[in-house]
Every structure is written in C-alpha cells, then in structure tokens.
C-alpha cells in the first residue's frame, strides 16, 4: 500500500507546534498553583494554620457546608429520582430550573437570594412576620452554598437514576416490592456510585463558593466568613495567612478531584447498571 508521504520535516513541525501550544497552556494553568506553594511560607504553615482567626473561619466553613450538603442530598435525591423516572409535561422545564444555577453568575445568585429573602424581598413580609432573618446570617451562607452547589449533585443524580436499567425496578415491583422499597433496595444502590460522584462535585463547588455568599451573607468573621471569604479579607491584613488558606484549599480541591476520578473509574469498571450485555459476549 502506498500512501502519499508527508515530508518528515513537516510532520515534525506539526508535532512541535502541538507541543508548544500544550506547553504554554499547561504552564499557564500550573503557574498559580506553583506560585502559591513557592510564595507561601511553608515552614510557618503549622503556625499559620493554628491561628485563631483561621480556626473561626474553618468552623464556619465546616458547619455551613455540612448543613448545605445535607440539604442538597436529602432534597436533591428525591427530586432527581422524580425527574429521572417520571415523564410528564413540563419535565424539561423543571430540569432546566434545576440546572440554571450552574450557569448563573454568582453575583446574580447573590442578588437573587437577596431579592427573595431580604426584608423588602419576595418572601420578606412572611419571614418578618415569622420572626426569621436570613440575610447576613449563617443561614444565608448555607442557602447560598445550597443554591450554587445543588445543581452539580442533582444533575449527576438524574443521570445516574436514568442509567439504571428500567427493567430492574420493574423486576422489583413484580417481586412484591412497593415503590419505596424498590427505590431503597434497587434504584438507590445502583445509582450510588453516580450520586457520590455528583456529591463530590457539589461539595467542591460549595467549599469554593464566594460571590453569592459575600452578597447575601456578607463577610462577618465568626458568623459568615468561610475559607474563600477569609482569603479575600486577609489579603491586606495578613497575606501569608491568605496564602496558607490557599494552600489548604488547593490540597482539598486536588483531593476532591482525585476522589472524583477514582469513583468515576470504579463506576466504569463495575458498570452497575447493565452487566448482562457486557459479559454475554464473552466466550465461555
């Protein structure tokens, strides 16, 4: 077989061009992270991380994210199951509503939350009557995180429930299980890998939340100041502390990404939904 030969020099030139572009983009992407580690006083890291200011910030971050993640999972899972398994008019619209915060600029999310929950806002009168104040409290942090992070979980959860072979819940029903038992014993365990993967992404987005929180909850130390807001505040006061928090978040984010990749590869190996087609073609 004779192929028109590309001159060797031109082939090498093309490869060099690709390598150059890749080199520039990778350097650019890695540079801030590398800078963070080289600029941060790594030797003083233990001392910086035990700073009482940081302790307060950590405590607010952990508390608000725990509650927000619990809300996302407890409300998001049934929502996703409903949207994944029932087909009704307007379903596509509801899915879009669920996904919207994903593309919404965080500042818009913040102003929207204010418009909904502040004293003069959409629910302002009712909340005031009930004696509930949300903006600039810790609950505002929780709501901001829940708002921006939930689509990451719900979207993935819908996909995971949709990926469960529909004959499996059908089989459960014919075996005497009602809808609730079918959900708990069949659909949920089979979608679990995907749910965890979605939750990991939502968690990362929640910890990184900044824009909506600063508008809706403010930046009050010990009340609404989370790690990202802390970096912002310490920028002038204590740059080294900012860098230290940065290092902490890079490590956390990298760990989350790794976890996500591990879960994804584990899921693709175990293919929980339909192993039948896969193995039937294997010689026996």
């Amino acid at each position: 077989m004779h192929l028109p030969a590309m001159p060797a020099a031109r082939r090498a030139g093309f490869t060099a061009l690709l390598a150059l572009a890749a080199g520039i983009s990778l350097t650019f992407l890695a540079l801030p992270v590398v800078a963070l580690f080289t600029q941060a006083p790594l030797g003083r890291l233990p001392e910086l991380l035990s700073d009482p200011v940081l302790q307060e910030i950590l405590s607010v971050t952990v508390k608000t994210n725990l509650i927000a993640n619990a809300l996302i999972i407890l409300l998001g899972t049934p929502t996703a199951y409903l949207l994944a398994t029932r087909h009704f008019p307007g379903r596509a619209l509801l899915v879009t509503v669920v996904e919207l915060p994903l593309v919404l600029p965080p500042a818009v999310a913040g102003i929207g939350l204010l418009a909904a929950f502040s004293t003069g806002g959409l629910l302002g009168a009712q909340l005031q009557e009930a004696g509930i104040v949300i903006p600039f409290t810790q609950w505002a942090v929780v709501l901001a995180i829940t708002f921006v992070a939930s689509p990451f979980y719900v979207r993935q959860a819908i996909a995971s429930f949709e990926a469960v072979d529909p004959r499996l819940p059908d089989a459960a029903r014919t075996l005497g299980a009602g809808p609730a038992r079918t959900f708990l014993r069949v659909s949920l365990p089979l979608a679990a890998g995907g749910l965890v993967a979605g939750w990991v992404l939502a968690f990362a987005r929640g910890v990184g939340e900044f824009g909506a929180t600063i508008m809706f909850a403010g930046n009050v130390r010990g009340v609404t100041q989370t790690l990202t807001l802390g970096i912002y505040e310490q920028l002038d006061a204590n740059f080294d502390l900012s860098l230290a928090i940065g290092v902490l978040l890079v490590i956390l984010s990298a760990a989350v990404l790794l976890l996500y990749k591990l879960i994804s590869s584990w899921r693709s190996i175990s293919t929980s939904t339909s192993p039948f087609r896969l193995s039937r073609s294997l010689p026996r």
Partner: protein, 352 residues
C-alpha cells in the same frame, strides 16, 4: 385456575390487542420482534396499563377499565422472568432470590436446591453463565409463590447446547408447577418444545390460537403458516370441479381438493413434500413440480434442500434423496391431501 385477558393497549405505532384464557397450562405467545409480545406480559404483570378491557385471575380482576380497578404490580401474584433476566447486579444470587421471598429463608434454600444453583448462592450475577442466570431468574420469579408465571424469551439468550438442556428442564418445571404460564418466543420450535397451546401474534393482533400441533398443520393464514415452518407458495386459485387449480408464480399448476379463488397461499410442510427418485417419463404425475436444487444440507440422517421455491425435508435413507444434488434439477410431488390453502394478505377466498 385461569387467567383471563381481554384488553387493548395503544402502543404507537399500533394497538396491542389480546384476548386469551390460560388455564393451568403453558401458552406460547409467538411472533416476530416488535409484534407486541412483551407488552402483553407487561400488561398482565401490571407494568403497562391497557386502555380498554379486563385482566382477571380466577374471576378476581387485576385490571378492569370499566370499574377503574388496576392493581399495582406488587399486588398481583405474578412471577415474571425478563428477557436477559434483569437480575439485580448488586445482589448475590441468594439475595436476588430472597428479594421475592421476604423473610422466608427456607423457601430460598428450597428454590436454590430445586434449580441446582445452591453452589452459586454467594456469586454475583455478572459472574454467571447464561444458563445459570436463567435458573436464578426462574428461582427469583418463583420465590413469591406466584399464581401466574410469565417468561419473556426464556431461551433466546442461551447458546444452542444450554438451550437444549434448559428446554427439557423448563418443560418439567412448568408441568410440575401447573400454573397458568405464558411464555414469549419468536421461534415456533420453542413453542413446540415447551407449550401446550400457542398464540401467534403479529402487529399487536393475535392471529390464531390453538394446540401447537394444529397451528402447524392447520394454519388459518399465510403468516401463521410460514411462522410454523411451512412452505407458503403464492398462487392464483381457479375453482375446478369439486376442488381448485392453483397456478404458481412460475406457471406450474397443482390441483387441490379445497375450493378457492383468487390469490391464495399454498401451504405444505417440508416433510410432506415427496422427492421423486427419477424424472417422470411421459405424462407428468399429479402435483409434480420441477426445480433447481439449492441450499442442500445433509445433517446426520436428515436431508434439507430447496427445490425451485419449495423447501423439502427427507431422510437420508430414502433412496429418492439421492436425486437431490446441489445445482442439479429435481422433481418433487406435493400430495393434494397434505396441502392447505390459505387466504393471502386478506384477499382471495377459501371455503372451509
């Protein structure tokens, strides 16, 4: 014990209509893929909702469009074996079976034993062979002590060897259970092996119901005739005396005792076609046809071939089988008494 079905279920592009009474017997629902077979099972199991009609077991309605009764699948007593089995991949064999037999470990043991899968109890379904999966699916479906058993293509996912073995065991099991059982197949031979009666379904409509032997020997239309393994030759019938003359597409003519007119199908089983040892000398014998021999297969003591457009099956020890040589010409005779005449595509008239 009897399961009564009479319902219509609109399912684009057509409506699936089923009217069938199944006693303590096995009924095969046979038809090409896309005929609506699985939909019938799903409706009985409560997984699909008919638009009209009634499904009842021993007179107790499971579904009744008139009164609005529609029991959920878990409230009906059906064991459904899915095509490809739909075993729960995250549960062991034992837990799969136990899913249907809630808090009755003795029942689980009994079924594992009966279906000879006790040694697989701790395995996950992914590690099992097709035949093993099928047993697990059966055990799981039976765990609930269903009063109706439904099997969707129970044999299609198995290799030829396992298939033959499972056929025998499945037949025994079904006979033992003596439940109303419906099983689906696209292959009429499965129906012959497993069922007492068969219903042929195409385009959502049941064309013919009857004992499996009678479907093959007395088909009422060309589709059923072809599905049950018969030759169906297109011909034009002209009434002639007490019977009719059939003119085949290639112009050759045959006489049959049935009175018919217009386009009809000439139906004859390959085994009923007689191969003539020698080309007839002089006058052509009654209902003899001449054709090229193609597709000659000699398998053990059986010889199969196509002569012209007629499929022929005979035994190798018949001296006439020697007349079948690939690429050569041969003569076959279609005995008038073995021929059934059926209407073609709804046109053509056949008196019965």
């Amino acid at each position: 014990m009897a399961l009564d079905l009479d319902f219509d279920l609109p399912l684009p592009p057509f409506t699936v209509s089923a009217a069938l009474t199944v006693g303590a017997e096995t009924v095969a629902l046979v038809g090409p893929s896309g005929a609506g077979k699985t939909t019938v099972l799903r409706a009985v199991a409560g997984l699909a909702r008919p638009g009209r009609g009634r499904i009842a077991l021993d007179g107790q309605p499971w579904f009744d469009a008139g009164t609005g009764v529609s029991l959920a699948p878990e409230e009906r007593s059906v064991g459904l074996v899915f095509q490809d089995y739909a075993l729960f991949p995250h549960l062991s064999v034992r837990k799969n079976v136990a899913f249907g037999a809630r808090s009755d470990p003795a029942r689980v043991d009994e079924l594992l034993e009966r279906l000879q899968i006790s040694h697989l109890a701790r395995e996950k379904p992914t590690t099992l062979s097709g035949g093993e999966r099928q047993r697990v699916a059966l055990a799981r479906a039976l765990a609930r002590r269903p009063r109706v058993l439904l099997l969707d293509e129970p044999l299609s996912a198995l290799d030829a060897h396992t298939r033959a073995e499972i056929k025998v065991q499945l037949r025994e099991l079904l006979d033992d259970l003596a439940l109303p059982a419906i099983f689906i197949s696209h292959d009429f031979r499965d129906a012959v092996a497993l069922a007492h009666r068969a219903a042929v379904i195409v385009g959502g409509k049941i064309r013919q119901v009857g004992p499996v032997e009678s479907l093959a020997s007395r088909p009422t239309d060309a589709f059923v005739a072809a599905l049950t393994g018969n030759n169906v030759l297109r011909s034009i019938a002209t009434p002639n005396g007490a019977g009719s003359t059939l003119t085949l597409e290639d112009g050759q003519q045959l006489r049959v005792p049935a009175r018919a007119g217009g386009p009809v199908g000439l139906v004859i089983a390959p085994g009923d076609v007689r191969v003539l040892a020698d080309p007839p000398a002089g006058e052509r014998p009654a209902n003899a046809l001449r054709g090229m021999v193609t597709g000659l297969t000699r398998l053990g003591s059986r010889v199969e071939a196509r002569v012209g457009s007629v499929d022929v099956e005979c035994r190798a020890e018949e001296p006439a089988s020697a007349a079948l040589a690939a690429g050569g010409e041969a003569w076959v005779q279609l005995p008038a008494e073995a021929i059934t005449v059926v209407p073609l595509d709804g046109v053509g008239a056949v008196e019965r």
